[in-house]
Amino acid sequence: MKAPPAAYRPRRDHLWFARTRNYTIFVLRELTSVFVAWSVVFLLLLADAVLGGRLAGFAALAAQPWMIALNVLALAATCFHAVTFLNLAPKATVVRLDGYRLPAWMIQGGNHSLWLAVSAVIAFFVLRGFH
């Protein structure tokens, strides 16, 4: 008996992430993880400088134009990452109250509110230190 012809296997689309807006946003979210990691490294360097008494040297490094540019970019990327990540939370968190499932906007709103509250507290203590 003659074997049936092999099925056609499409070639891999190396530009798949550019085909739709949602794919592009997803890839950007993944790529911005690098800046989240950099932010963590920067904070660890800050903590190390404070504990080691090298704050002046760290401040001089942080004041370099390229470092400021990098951190501004990191801030924007981290915000993008945080917003898109928190918006996904309702997919992974199903909260039921007496049988009523909390709608996605409530979970998203709660996450963003908590984020803003924590940021405000940190900003309060940091900015107070300048006065």
């Binding site: 049936p4 012809p5 092999a6 099925a7 056609y8 296997r9 499409p10 891999r12 689309d13 798949w16 992430f17 085909r19 739709t20 949602n22 794919y23 997803f26 993944e30 996904l88 997919k91 992974a92 199903v94 049988g99």
Partner: protein, 253 residues
């Protein structure tokens, strides 16, 4: 059909829309090529009606799958203008003057024209044992397992899956890694995991790199699902379950 309806159809029939259909004829084509057909642009015609018109009136050699024509069987899933859609629920008028490009579902081997090979999916589906598993009993045929509305609600959403495979086609992870267990199989596993009558354990199948942990949460599976099943949610929920169970081995589900 009334005379009025007939007249409307005849008037509409004077307008046409071009369908660019992917053709792949094994032994004849090295790779799919597009072939254009002009079909009547009826206001109540879905893309599937256009394909049926081609099959019946223009080119009987065109191959594609369809069955119920009412969004239940899941057979007629294809890529329409780049999006994974059920062609029986996608109307030609959505595309204005056209043309409408119709291709097979992405990520699957193409057997012929718009027909894809779903054997690998069926094997994956079987691997999650998508049926009620009962242990240690041999109930009489008349046995019933009552459920409360809350118990039904816990899994009902996932039970709406019709295996149309649009979620696989929209999932870039599956397209890049065909070994990925995929959205529908995991959603159906969750359908039974969350069923109060089920006593099965699917942890070993789901807690794998190629299963729930392979998902990078693009979320397109949920967007394209015609039955609003939300496979992305099913996967993320099981990630939490699997993580908790890894930390607390005595916990279950």
């Amino acid at each position: 059909m009334t005379d009025t309806t007939q007249a409307v159809r005849q008037a509409a029939g004077t307008r046409t829309i071009r369908l660019e259909v992917a053709r792949y004829r094994p032994g004849q084509d090295a790779e799919p090529v597009f072939q254009g057909y002009d079909v009547p642009l009826m206001s109540d015609w879905a893309v599937l009606d256009g394909l049926n018109y081609i099959k019946d009136q223009l080119d009987g050699s065109l191959s594609y799958r369809w069955s119920c024509r009412m969004g239940v069987c899941g057979s007629c899933g294809m890529t329409v203008n780049g999006e994974a859609r059920l062609t029986c629920g996608t109307f030609l008028t959505e595309y204005g003057e056209g043309p409408v490009r119709i291709e097979p579902l992405k990520g699957f081997p193409v057997i012929r024209d718009l027909v894809v090979d779903i054997e690998e999916f069926l094997a994956k589906l079987t691997s999650v044992r998508p049926w009620l598993i009962r242990e240690g009993e041999d109930p009489p045929l008349t046995a019933e397992y009552a459920q409360t509305p809350e118990q039904l609600e816990a899994y009902k959403q996932y039970s709406m899956c019709i295996n149309c495979l649009l979620c696989y086609s929209a999932c870039p992870v599956y397209v890049l890694d065909p070994d990925f267990l995929g959205p529908a199989a995991i959603a159906l596993a969750q359908r039974y995991n969350l069923d109060s009558r089920d006593m099965g354990d699917r942890f070993d199948v789901l807690n794998q790199d190629d299963a729930v942990w392979g998902c990078t949460f693009v979320g397109e599976c949920t967007k394209v699902c015609p039955k609003h099943v939300d496979p992305a949610e099913a996967i993320q929920r099981y990630k939490l379950t699997a993580a908790l169970r890894s930390v607390l081995p005595w916990s279950r589900r």
